[in-house]
Every structure is written in structure tokens, then in C-alpha cells.
Symmetry: C2
Subunit: 645 residues, 2 copies
């Protein structure tokens, strides 16, 4: 097989309208794409499989929520303050860059130049420090050798590029003389830019809204309704599939970093005291390729392939269960398992509230890209919304056996306390009620030691005399029949567009005999179209058969594409190889005579020839993945040549 | 059956979380709703059926485009200038109203008051003009009799309420003393308010964007790609399902007028010279309930029930074909055909470019509501985008027989023309090339009459002498092999939320024996959950059977809901009647012994009892609507009483 050629693939995707930049006739907008018929069908099939694999399989409670979100909700969630990137501006022409991406690009270019210069030097052919003028203008970075210490410095910066603050990025820009590579102009200090699209809701101009950056918040806010819908049973999961938005400073990498994208998110609610999963057993023998924190700490990137149980590094069963289910889902789609890994977040990468977080990363020509995040978000989200809105987002669990416990408690004798302390009563009471059990025991002791009297500070800082008459401090027994707790949330979050693009790279290849002949080997279940229906030529003898057969295929809910254009049959097959259509039914002159048609499989280009009824049944089984093509080839004789006249 | 009670239905929908106001813990936002599990599944099933009925059935080219749209695109389409409503402001407290809705509400209240007053007067019990003070404050409009002329005036205004300009609405408000009904304060003049949500794309603040108000524009802009994808064959259709936005001034009527909604739109491209539809025959015998313009002009609202062909009022076959297909789709969902009508737009209702437009209106407790619009938009959209962007959005049709025609043409003899006329040559040439055929013939004649010479004006206004040597004017024969045309667009546009809500009203009823027992009789195909799986009690004897059966049901891709709560079996059935779940499989003690289970149907509450394999097969056939419950009842004996111990 030839080496992967992204340009060639992109040419195919454009030609077959998998996707294209939106509003291109108007100059287009970076980071906005339209999915054409095959891309749209592929996306719908991925979503359909996701729904079956996750929602139906585990009776998740799917919802479909609003995109437009009031600012207050996203203030509480932290997005208004923290969902930001750093940008810098060309001080002369005003062009704006994402600071970390610009630093990365400039330093990578310089390191490339250094590599060339060292190579040339070793070959004894080039003087270092040439092209001074171009370097100054910053336009093209050619072979310039760097000091060893500078080189090491650059490499360290690149390794840490995701984690710098704005101030640090500004210092790097100044220290290493980073300019706008196009103009050579100086750059501003990094400024924070919020990545949410902002708008106003309604006509007043006073209700600010943002387009949601994720579907999660809408799910959290419905927690009470979900719990009730689930008959108050725990654990359970909600799920949502929908568009989210991210106003990137400068989008890049095609479908991998866009301003509008489809997400599929699960919020699985668990008891913080028991994060076991009832179906953990079903996945316990599945091996995953883990890249845990400890390996990354050693600067290594080689994953270990073991089961969740063996790994002993995934924080809990539920998190581990989902990692395994994610792998099953992705490989079912056609993602190659040797190009999939689960990378644990480094401690400084995780949100402060997260217990543990793993990214399913898929390898493509853009490197290892996070396509699914899977985090244990603890009780963070439900807690912040609950605190802000005063709506209790908790679970009340009836205890089979009540919990009995003892506790030291303070009782104030109001009849004495108020009249004696008068205007100071409130201040002293505030102090006393702020004491914990240990402090209460100490106070009790000092009352005993002082023969029933002692001094305590009020909240005002003054000291006040109190006696045993004012209050009592005793051990009491309590019985609780209901336990209240805020559930923890395990969140698997899928970027559908990233998965879709990665999948396309994984299933793309060209025929050995002809590099021009591209094939996309989607599994039948996710292929945009399942079957090409093709008459040998546009001879009118075929018209009725095509109409009849296309009707029967539609009745079976098989997505077909009829190609009765005047192109040669080979050309039409090739076109559908590029669309990833797994099967083709061909109607030829023999069909008109004996009612048989041929069925061609995309990857092998092998065919069988049977009567229409048989072919339809075989096709339905193939499309539903009840039978493989290998099996079909065993059952039916291979058909060799089409009668062309 | 009891009369429809919207409050009772809304109670059920809330309790079962079909949908709920978004962000309610934060006070909610008018016009934004979240669909809970049953609403979300119902929506997904409606969309799935739509895709099968339209996209798969006619190999439409489905796309999924961007929501965020650059302002320029929507400037061209006309939305920036014309997608507006009129608003008025309370001059003291600043409250904002949609002007036409406010006028409507106030006049309706006054007419109600008049009706009461007239009734009371007839009964001789009440003095007119009472409650003067309240009337002035405008808070409550009670029984106040109106002058006959005023009453007639109000009625005329209400009949025309959809078509007033801002100036007219302002005049009505002043003439009839319309105030804020809550405060009695004066209102501002009507001001235009654009209904699109506005935002900025990227960090510069210079690229204005709007959230799309429809999916159509994204489809038009991809016309060239679609045509190529379709091998340049005409006619064909593109389609898109997705969220659109409308920043309503004051949303109302639940799901019927919201700020965010799912649309499904088809753009069917046809040759303007031939709007016949190849599959028209398939629908030609279907009767539709038409409410044509002529009937409305007579002030009548009784539709006529005839076929598209008989109607002879639908502009063309393709438009008629889609009206019929829309009816087939809606009735398949469960919309009652006697509460569905096709209303033709009045001439002043249609956009200036539209040829004809019909709304599929569904009757609910809110009246007759437009749920699907079906318009012939002529070549308008493709033309305006093409003019603006200079990208040709046309079809080039190879003509089987070339078109041959004669034309009078001018040929300038450059060798003489330039040298003779020198600096005036350009001015004269401009004049000459602006002449049409008739004018050229006239010029030829005057050259003949002048013995080969005449005077012509230049573009500069001066007269110049020319002769036969300067030019020749002749009839020539032309042959054209390709015809170029801008396709016309027939656009069926579906409001999925409106259809969903109307459907719920149509399938809602309460059991005769108990008004509290609500049922939603969704057809199996669209029902949110297909089957309730319910053990008789939470006896551990049932656990394995429930697990096994739920696994087998999932394998059949049947969406189930397991209810093993401790509620009585009757209560659990009732709960699922409210969810519209058509079938229930019950596991009882007999099941444990003999492997049989019961299958209950929602509407009849009748049951059969068979072994698990049979029940699963029957269930699958029922869910896929391959068999009706009536048929099942013929084939299997009715099962009467469950063994409760």
C-alpha cells in the first residue's frame, strides 16, 4: 500500500462532496463546514450507531436542549470566566493570532530551519546565518542554525505549549523575538478572548445569551426531572446529541478544530460512595491501549495494552466501564484499534474538581487527536448550580437500615441567655454556634474547670461571661432514615466531527494497480449509501428493472444511489468506491432475460450472480452486518465477466 | 369521550417530561424548551420517518450546514431587511410588546366584553359602561358595550391583523386608544425589530453573523455541488434537517411559537418550462382538503375534499405532488386527516417572487396552525445569490436537437471604422452595439435609403457620418447545443416542533371509566418507547427473566422501558399509557414456570399470552407496523387475568 497522501484524500472528499467550506461563494468563513450528502449520511449513521450502542443499550435518558443559553448559567458553570484562549495582535495591521498556536508555529519553523542548517553543515555545503534579511522580515524561515541552548529552550517550550498562561506566553514572545511571520511586525501582549458566541435574547437588549459550548449544562439543569423520570433509581445516565459552538480565534486542521460541531455527551450519575458499575463484568476481559500519567511523566508515549482491571489506574469501575464501551463503539465504526489509545490527563491538565480524566485519542495525519473525553467530574456541576439557584440537586436515598450516631450538641437556654447578655446575645450566640464538636467539648471542660462559669469571645471580639445556666453541652443520639447526597458525574463526551474525519482517514486506501482509484472501506452499517444500483448502460431495456429494483430496495430501508449516467461501468464503480458504497447491484442484458443480477463488493471487487430475491436477501443481511462478504463468497459461486452487449 | 382539556394534557406532558421550559432553575427564558426523554425520542422518530418518507424515497441530497451565517448571505436573501416584526414599548416602564399581537389581544378582550354586555343587557341585568376606572387603567376589561360601528371596525382589524404595516398599526393604536393592558400606560410608535439573533464571528468584531432563520439559504449556496453530485441530472431535490432560530419579541403558545426550533426543509429544483413530476401518477387519486384563495375570498373556511388534479388550482404538478406527499407523511405520523387542511396563500400574503404557496395547517386547541409551508419560490433565491456572488447557479442542458434560429447582427469593419472616426470611434461603437434587432434593421434601411451613407448619434450625443464600409448588418443563422437556465425551486418546509405538538393533541384521550387516566395513542412507529417491560412485582424470582428479555429486546433494536418499581401493575401500565408506549410485556409467576409472558396493547388494554419467542416475533412485527393489533387478536387467544400470587 502506498503512503498516506492527505492532499489526495482531500481531493476525493471535495469531489464527492463529503464536506465543503460553508458560504464559499461569499468567500467562506474559517471553521464552518457544510456536510454534503455522503458526509451528512455518514454523520447520521454514526449518530444512529451511537444511540443504539449507548442510549438504547443502557436505557439512558436522552434529551434535546436549547442552544441559546442565558449568560448566568454559563457564569455559574465557569465558562464566562474560564472558557478562553490567549490572542495577540499585529500592532501595525491588526491581524489576530491565537498566541500559543503562533508561538508553536514560529518555533517549529525555526527548529526546522535549524535541522536543515545542521544537515547542510554536516554536508559542508552552506554557511550558517544566511538569508538574514528574510529572517528579519520573518516571511520565510530558511536554514538557520540555532545555538544549542536556544534549541533546547524551544523544545521545552513546545513540550509545554498547552499549559502556559497569558503572561508566560507574552514573556516567551518577547524573549524569543516572535513577530507576525507574514509582516514581521511586533505583536501585542496576549489578551484573553472568550470562545463563546454572544448574542441578545429578546428585544430588550438586557438578556445576554451565549451559544452553548457543550450540551452538558442543559443536562445538569434537568437532573431533578431525570431522577423523577427514572423513578428515583440510581445510578443512571442522561445523554444528548447536538450542535455546540466555539468561536475559535483561528480555526485550523479541517474538521478537527471548527466553530460549530456536533457533540454526543453522556452524564452518568453515581453515588460518590459506590462507583462500581453493574455491567462491569461484561467488559472486564477487553484489552485497551492505556497511556497512563506515570508513563507520560517518564516522557514516553508507548501505551500498555491491558484490561481495565489489570490497569489499576482508572479511578473507578464506572469510568473504566465507559472507556471500554468507548473502544467498542469506535472499533465498531471502523476506527483501527492500533491507532486508538486512552491517554490519562496529567494532573495540571485536569480541572481542579475532576477525580480522573482519560481522552480517547485517535491517530490521523494530524497526530494523536482527542476525539472522546471521559472525565469523572465529581459533584462539581450539580453543586455549583444548586448553590446558585437554591434548587436542591440531590438524591434522597431511603436507608434499609437507619444510621444511628452520637454527636456533641449545644443547646442554648433562651430564657436566660437573651435577658442576661442583652444586646450582646446575638454576637455570643454566633460565636457559640460556629464551634465544632471538639471545640464544644473543650468549652464544656472549661465550664467544668471554672465551676460552671467561663469567658467566651463574641463575634465582636469582646469577652463575655457565661455560665451553665446559659446553655448545655451534651452527647446525643441521632437516627437517620434517609441519606441525602449529591451524585458524582462520569462524563463521556464525543466529538462526532473529529471521529468522522479520523474514520475517513482510517478507511481510506488506493487500489494497488492504480493510485488514482481511491476506496473508502466504511463498514456497511456506517457507509453513507449501502448499495449502488447500476444498469450496464442507458439502454431503455433496463429502465423498468431499475425502477422495480430501486423500489424494492427502498422498501427494505436500504439507502441506495442509482447511477444510470452514460459513464462506463468501471468509472461508475470507481465513483462509488470513493463514496464508500460497500455493494453494487448491476443490471445487464442477462438480467432482462433470466431475472438474475450481480452483486459486487467494494473492497474485493468480487461479484456473485443470483436471482433478484436471493440478492435482496443477501444484501439485507450484509447491510445489517448479519453476514460477512467472506461468508457470502463461500455460499455462492463467484461471477466473473459481465456480458457487455 | 370528554371535551379536550389542554390544562390536563399539559399536566401529563410535564409530569412525563415530554418537554419543559429550558433553564427553569434560572427563571427560564420564554420560547426556549428542553425535550425530555419521551419528547426527544418522539422527535427523533418523526425525523427518522421524515427521512425515510422523503429523502430515501426520492434519493434527495441531504446536507447538514452551518447555523452561524455571515450577515452578507442574509442581506442578499432579504432577511436582514425584511425578517422583522413591529414592536411597541410602554413609554413609562419600557415593557416591550409585539404590536400586532397586542392590538389583537386588546381588541379581542374588548369584543368579549361587548359580548358579555350585550348578553347582560338582553337579560336586563347590567348597566353598560360600568367599571370605568378599571377600563381606564386597562387592567381588566369587563362587560362594556361597544358602538355597533366600533365593533365592526374591531372585527375588520382582527381579520386583517397579519398584514398591517408599522404605520398602520401605529394609527390603529392611536385611534382606538390601545395602551399597555397591565399598566394603562401609553405606547410608543411601532418600531421594526429584526428577528435574527446577531453575533460576531471570530475575534476581530468585524465579521457580523446571524443564527440562520431557515436551512434553505445553506442549500441554495450548495446548488452547484448538488447538481454535480447528481451527475447534472434534473430535476432533483436537496434536503436539510436542523435547528433554526427566531428571536421572537414575545413568544407564546407553547411549542408553536418558539425561539429555537427544528426544521426539515426540501428544495426541489425544476426546469421552469416543465414543472411536471415523474411520480405524479402515484398520488393522483389521493384526496386532500383544500382551502383555495377563492373560497377564502368569499370569507368561507370550509375546505373542499378533492384530488390535486380535480382541484386545478395548484400551480403545477410538482407543487401538487408535494402537497399529497405531505398529507401522506402527516397521516402516517398519526395526524387526523379531518383536522388537516391545505390553505392557499392570499395574493398579499405571498412573497412577490412566489408563484403559489400552500400551508398544511393542523387544527389544535390553538386553532388552525401552519405546520408545513409549501411554496413555489420561482428562480428568486438562486438568482439573487448568483447576482451578488457572480457564481453561476444555473443548469446547462445539452439539447438533443439543437435550437436553430436567425438573428440580425451587426459586424463592424475595424479596419475602416477606427481610422475614420478616430477619437469618436468608441462613442459611436457604444451606440451601435446598444441597438436591438429592430433598430439594426432600421439603420440598415436608412443606409440603403441614403445610398450607403447615414448619420448616427454617438453616445456623446453628437451626430457622425457612417457608410456601408464602416459596418455590415445581416441576418445570420445560429445553432445552440446547450440551453442554460436558472431552476425554479419548490420548497416544502416542515416545522417539526409544531407537528410534534399537534400530533400529541391528536392522539390524546382519557379512558371512559376514568378521566384521570390519560392515553397518548401514538402509532408504534413514532411512539417514544415501543415496549414496557414489567415484572409483576419486585420479587427476585423475576430478575433473571427481566434481564434476559430486555437484552433480547435491545438486540431487536426495540426501544424499551423497564419498570421494576414497587408500584402496582395497574399504576405502571397507566404511567406508560401516558408515555404513549403501545405495548407492554409482563413477567409473572407463570412466566417463571412455563416461559410464557403476556403482551398488552395500550389502546384496547387487551392481552395475549404466548411463549417468549412468539411474543418477540409478534412484537417486532407490531413495532415495524407489519401487522396490526386487530390481526394479532385474531391469531392468538385473548388472555384474561394475571395470576397475582
Amino acid at each position: 500500500m502506498t503512503a498516506f497522501n492527505r492532499t489526495a484524500l482531500e481531493e476525493v472528499l471535495k469531489k464527492r462532496f463529503f464536506y465543503a467550506p460553508s458560504f464559499q461563494a461569499y468567500g467562506g468563513v474559517a471553521g464552518l463546514y457544510d456536510y454534503g450528502p455522503p458526509g451528512c449520511a455518514l454523520q447520521a449513521n454514526i449518530i444512529d450507531l451511537w444511540r443504539k450502542h449507548f442510549v438504547l443499550e443502557e436505557e439512558m435518558l436522552e434529551m434535546d436542549g436549547s442552544i441559546m443559553t442565558p449568560a448566568e448559567v454559563l457564569k455559574t458553570s465557569g465558562h464566562v470566566d474560564k472558557f478562553t484562549d490567549w490572542m495577540v495582535k499585529d500592532l501595525k495591521i491588526g491581524e489576530i493570532f491565537r498566541a500559543d498556536h503562533l508561538v508553536e508555529a514560529v518555533l517549529e519553523t525555526r527548529l526546522d530551519g535549524d535541522k536543515q542548517a545542521r544537515k547542510a553543515e554536516a554536508e559542508g555545503s552552506v554557511q550558517p546565518e544566511k538569508n538574514k534579511k528574510e529572517k528579519k522580515k520573518g516571511k520565510i524561515q530558511t536554514a538557520v542554525k540555532l545555538e544549542d541552548s536556544v534549541k533546547a529552550d524551544y523544545e521545552e517550550i513546545l513540550a509545554k505549549i498547552d499549559n502556559y498562561s497569558g503572561i508566560e506566553l507574552g514573556a516567551i514572545i518577547r524573549k524569543h523575538g516572535i513577530k507576525n511571520p507574514e509582516t514581521g511586525n511586533d505583536l501585542s501582549d496576549p489578551v484573553e478572548f472568550n470562545l463563546m458566541f454572544e448574542s441578545n435574547i429578546g428585544p430588550t437588549g438586557h438578556l445576554k445569551g451565549y451559544l452553548r459550548p457543550e450540551t452538558a449544562q442543559g443536562q445538569f439543569l434537568n437532573f431533578k426531572r431525570f431522577l423523577e423520570f427514572n423513578n428515583d433509581k440510581m445510578p443512571f445516565a442522561s445523554a444528548s446529541i447536538g450542535r455546540s459552538f466555539r468561536n475559535e480565534i483561528s480555526p485550523r486542521s479541517g474538521l478537527l478544530r471548527v466553530r460549530e460541531f456536533v457533540m454526543a455527551e453522556i452524564e452518568h450519575y453515581v453515588d460518590p460512595n459506590n462507583k462500581d458499575h453493574p455491567r462491569f463484568n461484561e467488559i472486564k476481559d477487553l484489552k485497551l491501549r492505556f497511556l497512563p500519567r506515570v508513563i507520560q511523566d517518564e516522557g514516553k508515549t508507548e501505551p500498555i495494552e491491558i484490561t481495565v482491571d489489570e490497569a489499576k489506574i482508572v479511578d473507578n469501575q464506572t469510568l473504566g466501564y465507559f472507556l471500554a464501551r468507548i473502544q467498542l463503539f469506535l472499533t465498531k465504526l471502523g476506527i483501527k484499534s492500533d491507532r486508538l489509545r486512552f491517554r490519562q490527563h496529567m494532573l495540571n491538565e485536569m480541572a481542579h474538581y475532576a477525580c480522573d480524566c482519560w481522552d480517547a485519542e485517535i491517530q490521523s495525519s494530524y497526530g494523536w487527536i482527542e476525539c472522546v473525553g471521559c472525565a469523572d467530574r465529581s459533584a462539581y456541576d450539580l453543586t455549583v448550580h444548586s448553590n446558585r439557584t437554591k434548587e436542591k440537586l440531590i438524591v434522597r436515598e431511603s436507608l434499609a437500615e437507619p444510621i444511628v450516631y452520637e454527636k456533641t450538641v449545644l443547646e442554648i437556654n433562651k430564657k436566660v441567655f437573651g435577658p442576661k447578655l442583652r444586646q450582646h446575645a446575638k454576637s455570643v450566640e454566633e460565636y457559640l454556634t460556629s464551634l465544632n464538636e471538639e471545640q464544644l467539648e473543650a468549652l464544656k471542660k472549661s465550664l467544668q474547670d471554672g465551676n460552671g462559669g467561663t469567658k467566651v469571645p463574641g463575634k465582636d471580639g469582646n469577652q463575655y461571661e457565661i455560665t451553665n445556666e446559659y446553655l448545655s453541652i451534651n452527647r446525643q443520639t441521632f437516627t437517620e432514615h434517609v441519606r441525602e447526597y449529591t451524585p458524582n458525574v462520569i462524563e463521556p463526551s464525543f466529538g462526532i466531527g473529529r471521529i468522522l474525519y479520523s474514520l475517513i482517514e482510517h478507511v481510506y486506501w488506493t487500489r494497488e494497480d492504480d493510485e488514482q482509484r481511491a476506496v473508502l472501506s466504511f463498514p456497511p452499517r456506517v457507509a453513507p449509501f449501502k448499495c449502488l444500483l447500476v444498469p450496464l448502460s442507458n439502454n431503455p431495456a433496463f429502465t423498468d428493472l431499475v425502477a422495480d429494483l430501486s423500489k424494492r430496495l427502498r422498501m427494505l430501508s436500504i439507502a441506495i444511489k442509482v447511477d444510470d449516467s452514460s459513464n462506463s461501468i468501471g468509472r461508475r464503480y470507481a465513483r462509488n468506491d470513493e463514496l464508500g458504497t460497500p455493494f453494487a447491484v448491476t443490471i445487464d442484458f442477462q438480467s432482462v432475460n433470466d431475472g438474475t443480477v450481480t452483486l459486487r463488493e467494494r473492497d474485493t471487487t468480487k461479484q456473485i450472480r443470483e436471482n433478484v430475491d436471493t440478492i435482496l436477501q443477501v444484501l439485507k443481511d450484509l447491510v445489517e452486518e448479519n453476514v460477512t462478504w467472506e461468508k457470502v463468497m463461500e455460499l455462492y459461486p463467484t461471477f466473473v465477466t459481465q456480458q457487455l452487449e
